[in-house]
């Protein structure tokens, strides 16, 4: 087969031809094509990318969540998929609302999503629907909070010996006590 060099336009065009105009916020920060998609389509897109005979996104490099407490859709899941044969990376984002936020699992496409999704659930409380074993992975099982959310401070804020105002900072109004 003739070797073609995959360009960002080709990838985007292929995706838009198959899924229509559902890709928003198309950017290229630091050379990685980035697009936001809706949560009902994300698994179809990942499966399409994985199976496509030219694109061949064989690998889910990374999956993580980001918390934006000031936005309407507070959580964002970021997928980094990678086509080794074309040396091409693609970043897909899904904005989620609701608490707990819910999104279908990617484990049916990529086996590696299993622990990545468990980690994301563990730290952000994002429910991956259909996940075979969605339980905490790095934190203790008895933990009741999702510690990477922005409202939880780094340190126990029952401490009185450290006052943010002494360092010229206002205390974060989002912080809630852990206990």
């Amino acid at each position: 087969m003739e070797k073609i060099t995959l360009t960002k336009e080709m990838v985007l065009q292929t995706l838009q031809n198959n899924f229509g105009n559902i890709f928003s916020n198309i950017e290229e920060p630091y050379g990685i094509l980035t697009a936001t998609v809706t949560k009902d389509k994300i698994i179809d897109i990942l499966a399409f990318l994985n199976k496509h005979e030219i694109l061949q996104f064989q690998m889910l490099t990374d999956l993580c969540a980001v918390h934006f407490p000031e936005r309407d859709k507070k959580f964002q899941i970021v997928y980094h998929v990678h086509s080794l044969s074309n040396n091409f990376r693609l970043r897909l984002k899904v904005d989620l609302d609701g608490d707990p936020p819910k999104i279908p699992t990617a484990t049916i496409v990529y086996a590696t999503a299993n622990w990545m999704e468990r980690e994301t659930y563990d730290f952000y409380g994002v429910i991956f629907e259909g996940h075979p074993n969605l339980k905490r992975i790095l934190n203790i099982d008895d933990m009741v909070i999702f510690p990477m959310r922005k409202e939880y401070p780094l340190e126990d804020n029952t401490r009185t010996d450290k006052d943010d105002r002494m360092f010229g900072r206002e205390p974060n109004p989002l912080f809630k006590p852990l206990i």
């Binding site: 590696t112 730290f123 992975i137 790095l138």
Partner: protein, 406 residues
């Protein structure tokens, strides 16, 4: 049907159906690190393995959201602590990519040297400990002496050995002392002989091959699906190396081979790592040749906003004092944006997904820790194998507890 006189003794035929549940870890002498596996055993065969991770989780991602950029380097030390300099350099190059800092060539070559030394150290630990797990202690002793020499070089450069915190955003903290180059030359002269001896002990050793060949194998398809990277992926035959595919630190100027295996088993992983050590030696030699052609004494980029000024200037020069104060307080001009940058770590693709909102700390920093991602394939790899093979497989996957738990 039970034996009528001894009710715990089962009659023939029933015995084979009986399974035992055993627990290995979290601290077990055969698993090098804090790993727990609850295994369902049928005699010596593993039916299933339930893996528990997280025993040494230290919340680095949370801490990173509250620390200025230069204070995150010590956190990266503690990920894969067998090759800390690679993690440090990975973090520096990520921030440099975000801030758009260009480094002088000499600094990049110095970084290549330090990263390849780290790769050698990492592979030596993994392969020699694999030898220990198969009952061959001698090779371990041979190469650990050489690893000590690598640590001495690091010590000369940055003052520490294991968790190095080496380099800064924009370069190195100081010029490498002459002693470090002398030690490096000595190492390059002496190490190949020792490593050849190490290979002689193992590569064609009948016992070692029987213990490792065909053990814990995984196909290339499954490995990709599981997100394998680094030597473990290359052992399955996929020639994916970030140094070649997404060159950083001027790796594109170096001539090296990406060794691949065929069957993705423990033996192939061992051979791939060994070959990578030879490639690393060759890269270091090339880097030293290139450095000789560059102007001497350049060890950082000219970026006063990010790189601490020399201390003597801070006392006499207004600008230097201002920059010193701003950098120490973490008030460096970091642009808004998101960047994914990865380096070829000792055991795979070490990625940094960094979102900056222009503030003094990252808004979000996610470490793509290679062994966290591929350790989940462990269950599939050991299913149906012997318990002793599972130990060898675990060892050959180069799982580092610090990186696993993040």
């Amino acid at each position: 049907m039970s034996n009528p006189t001894h009710k715990h003794i089962k009659l023939e035929g029933e015995l084979e159906k009986e399974t035992n549940t055993i627990n290995i870890g979290p601290t077990h002498p055969a698993t090098h690190g804090v790993f727990q596996n609850i295994m369902e055993m049928d005699g010596e065969r593993i039916l299933s393995a339930d893996t528990t991770v997280g025993y040494i989780h230290r919340a680095f991602e949370k801490i990173a959201e509250h620390r200025p950029y230069y204070q995150i380097t010590p956190l990266t030390d503690r990920l894969n602590y067998c090759s800390a300099p690679i993690n440090n350099m990975g973090w520096h190059t990520t921030v440099e990519k975000l801030a758009g800092i260009k480094l002088p060539k000499r600094v990049e070559y110095l970084r290549v040297i330090i990263m390849e030394l780290a790769r050698i150290a990492d592979h030596l630990v993994c392969n020699s400990v694999l030898g220990v797990d198969t009952g061959a202690f001698t090779g371990f002793l041979y190469v650990f002496q050489e690893r000590e020499k690598i640590y001495e070089i690091w010590e000369d450069i940055c003052g520490s050995r294991l968790t190095t915190n080496i380099g800064r955003v924009g370069g190195f903290e100081r010029e490498w002392p002459n002693s470090s180059f002398e030690k490096l030359d000595k190492f390059l002269a002496g190490f190949p002989k020792v490593f050849k001896e190490f290979e002689n002990l193992f590569n064609r050793n009948r016992i070692f091959i029987e213990r490792t060949a065909g053990v814990g194998s995984i196909s290339a398809d499954r490995a990709l699906n599981y997100g394998f990277t680094g030597p473990n992926l290359r052992a399955t035959g996929v020639d994916y190396d970030i140094r070649a595919m997404y060159p950083y630190s001027s790796y594109e100027e170096f001539d090296f081979k990406v060794p691949v295996g065929k069957r993705g088993d423990t033996y192939d992983r061992f051979l791939v790592r060994n070959e990578e050590v030879w490639q690393s030696i060759s890269i270091i030699k090339q880097a030293l040749e290139k450095i000789a052609k560059e102007p001497a004494g350049v060890f950082h980029a000219d970026v006063p906003e990010y790189y601490l000024p020399p201390k003597e200037e801070v006392y006499h020069n207004m600008e230097a004092l201002i920059y010193h104060f701003k950098i120490v307080m973490g008030e460096v001009p970091i642009p808004k944006g998101e960047v994914y940058h990865s380096v070829e770590g000792g055991n795979g693709e070490l990625g940094f997904y960094l979102i900056s909102d222009g503030g003094r700390c990252p808004y979000r920093l996610h470490f793509r820790r290679p062994c966290f991602i591929y350790y989940q394939a462990f269950e599939e790899m050991v299913k149906g194998e012997l318990l002793s093979d599972a130990i060898v497989t675990l060892s050959s996957m180069n799982i580092i507890a610090g990186e696993l738990d993040g």
